[in-house]
């Protein structure tokens, strides 16, 4: 049985079409996901992300524990009120999930994790945490994302507070509100945590201020164009972050830091990567699909698409492909029986509303 977020009734009222995602009944779109996509690139969209998990960790040794738990190094967070993206790895280097760690104090952190994996993540974290670290799953909070270039103006109007002028990946808290300048669209924007009971009221204020309700359909094409992986789809426990285009998020800088998965990743680096994740782009308006096979010039299998779709901002088919190393392009996919050439690109495809890709 699917769960619902506190905004379910509001979605119904707004005419949402629903889809199951991560065990939740979530809005897919409210009429047209392509229009919603353009609205986020052009102005501002509001997303219900209350299905995601929030874990608060605090107590002596929390920072040290996170330096062991996460592939990225929380010691790189310069000060309280700043955040860091990281993978959560298994011992063998497989990606259990990705998350954002927010530093609220010396030994006080908040982790925001994905919906489908939140219970597993919590169990994993508890199993590895020392007794001095107190872990609280914050199901009493709900999460909204306000994304798009008009977000700062709109937030200032609907919800004035100390978050005005935050830098990217910074956050501020006031009473029960937690506002971070983070997101999953490649646009400016905010993610806002508030008591679940206050979520609908806040959503209505942001909608009244001009944000357009935006569903998971647009969220997927926005994050694809932004070159952002979806946990469980572009990466999972069977692959490492190095073969998921996330090498930059793994910090080997401190040789003393023995994070979970380090030995396996160091060995993988030494041996050389077998596969890598790249952006792929079609030359025309079309739709790439998850799990399509990528073929080399002689028609031999060379990898698969981990995500695929139609990118409204580029008006072309695009996606991510995990390809065998060494690369041996040119590559193509078969669409309705016809070979369509794939251009390999460095991600992201789009950033802040503009094409940003470069040939690989």
């Amino acid at each position: 049985m699917s769960e619902r977020t506190p905004l379910y009734d509001l979605h119904r009222e707004l005419g949402a079409r629903f889809v199951d995602f991560g065990g939740y009944e979530m809005p897919l779109h409210y009429g047209s996901q392509i229009e919603e996509h353009h609205e986020v690139r052009r102005a501002a969209g509001l997303f219900d992300v209350a299905h995601m998990g929030i874990l608060d960790l605090e107590g002596p040794g929390t920072a040290a524990f996170l330096r062991r738990l996460l592939a990225n190094d929380v010691a790189r967070i310069e000060r309280d009120g700043r955040a860091l993206y990281s993978c959560l790895l298994a011992e063998d280097g497989g990606v259990l999930d990705d998350l954002i760690a927010y530093r609220r104090g010396e030994d006080r952190y908040r982790l925001v994790v994905n919906a489908a994996t939140k219970s597993k993540d919590e169990a994993w974290i508890r199993a590895h945490a020392p007794a001095s670290v107190r872990i609280t799953r914050r199901d009493d909070l709900g999460l909204l994302a306000l994304q798009g270039p008009a977000s700062p103006t709109l937030l200032r109007r609907a919800l004035p507070g100390p978050w005005d002028g935050l830098r990217p990946f910074a956050f501020a808290e006031e009473r029960d509100l937690f506002v971070a300048r983070t997101g999953y669209t490649g646009e400016d924007g905010f993610e806002i945590a508030v008591e679940a009971s206050a979520l609908e009221g806040l959503a209505r204020r942001l909608l009244a201020a001009g944000a357009r309700p935006t569903g998971l359909g647009a969220r997927d094409t926005l994050r694809l164009e932004a070159g952002l992986n979806l946990s469980g789809q572009d990466m999972d426990p069977g692959v490492s972050p190095l073969e998921s285009n996330l090498g930059w998020t793994v910090s080997f800088d401190d040789p003393e830091r023995d994070f979970i998965g380090r030995t396996a990743l160091a060995e993988e680096k030494r041996a050389g990567l077998c596969r890598r994740l790249v952006g792929v782009l079609l030359g025309r308006r079309a739709v790439l699909r998850h799990d399509q096979e990528v073929l080399d010039e002689r028609g031999r299998p060379a990898g698969r698409l981990t995500s695929g779709g139609y990118g409204p901002s580029l008006d072309r088919g695009l996606g991510f492909a995990r390809l065998d190393e060494p690369l041996r392009g040119p590559y193509h996919v078969l669409l309705h029986g016809r070979a369509e050439p794939l251009e390999l690109v460095r991600l992201p495809f789009v950033r802040r509303g503009q094409p940003a890709y470069r040939p690989l």
Partner: protein, 132 residues
């Protein structure tokens, strides 16, 4: 959702066919079909002049969600595609029974264009039954 107009016939695979004065038929997909597909990204129609058997595919509608074949219920020749859809595929979502028509068909000699098709009320009932 728009109810199906009564000036045309329907298939169980959610196409509509409207007889034109010149003996050809316009073919499109129903409001139910476009809604299930979601935003249409492009429509690919087989070239004009192609002849297709009854039940054969005449076009593919590719949406954000899926690629879906469009079938002719009777043997026919493809006369023309709706050129507007190449530029503005969203018209298929916005006006599936009007400007969002997909192609024009000429029934093959000896084919029976009406055979096995549903009228608007039967088609509506078939949708309700499918919901039960």
């Amino acid at each position: 959702m728009n109810s199906p107009p009564s000036d045309r016939r329907y298939t169980r695979t959610h196409e509509w066919l409207r007889a034109e004065n010149d003996g050809t038929y316009l073919l499109g997909i129903t409001d139910h079909a476009q809604s299930a597909l979601g935003d249409v990204v492009f429509v690919e129609v087989k070239p004009a002049g192609t002849t297709v058997e009854a039940g054969g595919s005449v076009a593919v509608v590719e949406s954000v969600k899926a690629a879906s074949d469009v079938y002719t219920p009777f043997a026919a020749e493809i006369v023309a595609a709706n050129a507007d859809l190449a530029q503005r595929p969203e018209v298929l979502n916005q006006d599936p029974y009007g400007d969002g028509w997909i192609l024009r068909l000429k029934p093959a000699d000896g084919s029976d264009p009406g055979a096995g098709l549903l009228d608007a009320s039967s088609y509506s009932r078939s949708l309700e039954d499918a919901h039960d």
